[in-house]
Assembly symmetry: C2
Homo-oligomer: 214 residues x 2
Amino acid sequence: MSAPLNAAPEAAPAPRPPLEFWFDFGSNYSYLSALRIEAAAARLGVPVRWQPFLLGPIFRSFGWETSPFVLQKAKGAYVWRDMARACRKAGLPWQQPSVFPRAALLAHRVALLGADEAWIGAFCRRVFSLNFAEDRDLEAPETVAGVLAELGLDPAALLAAATADANRQKLRQQTEAAATRGIFGAPTFFVGEEMFWGNDRLDDALEAWVAQGS
Amino acid sequence: MSAPLNAAPEAAPAPRPPLEFWFDFGSNYSYLSALRIEAAAARLGVPVRWQPFLLGPIFRSFGWETSPFVLQKAKGAYVWRDMARACRKAGLPWQQPSVFPRAALLAHRVALLGADEAWIGAFCRRVFSLNFAEDRDLEAPETVAGVLAELGLDPAALLAAATADANRQKLRQQTEAAATRGIFGAPTFFVGEEMFWGNDRLDDALEAWVAQGS
């Protein structure tokens, strides 16, 4: 049986926007999410977009010079205990960074450059692990180049593109977009305009993405 | 077969300290824990001690005049969205309070007075529900008296004892103890000296209590 001549072909449903994962490489709770998000999302068939941004300017816009985990001593002391327990529960290695929050500007630029590339998850997991499992400095270009080389990529070409003016400007715009969206910490997830804050809400965000399609 | 005459009788194991639940009636995330803690603990055989304290003096010790959910506008906007979702998930009624954080000094004094009484759980659940499900003022003595009357208790005698100097002083000491223990928010749970912060950690705290005994 053929369709009537004047029938429109059945339109494929428009692809739904992916779940957005906003993170900063210096954020300890982002580490917990980064190391599990791709596997957890794949189990549920949820596409993920990695959204690196800089928390520092967000905190400064609140009048804070650094992380609230540094500014609030009681909360800071608790957070490291909580992280040790959370990593044990998740089966992740954990070493409290000797520098916190650790700057990683170049790594953010590379992650933004590669946000739609197949290597983005592996790159981010490795950078997060250097910070929170190996207590390694992240600022030296050699460190970031080393991660790219491990992944079989071309470090020289990627670092050149990552540090080009256009990509620097793009990271500034990305951080401004985070502020505009109401982001106040990391990790933060978006399902459409619905915001979920914290590694403790990753599973809720994944479920919300699935539920919105049903 | 009889025991040798010089054998000590087998000592009963010392009772283990209960899991401690530190809360403030103005704390929205404490509402989520208060409404479920007794049932969740009973399922696992975990004894619970209700530990009312005042968050206001803790926040003031950090230099904050009020709740961080008021001081930080982006986080505050998120928190009400998060609460609506969390209550729906937990099957709890929810109405955003028109006054936040809501003062409830008398209710805290009554809760401290009754912390070891059989009615403590029912009393606290009712006070929390007035705040977060019915948007009711908690400061009028008639409101607190009404809750006690609903529970078949003697409001006049209990309010007199709650507002006596000894109990006022006890609440001040309780709040100082919270600060000394490193409490920076609510709800906070203790299993021995191990601290768990937030409704999101209640299940971890219950599991830790069980694990410490095995």
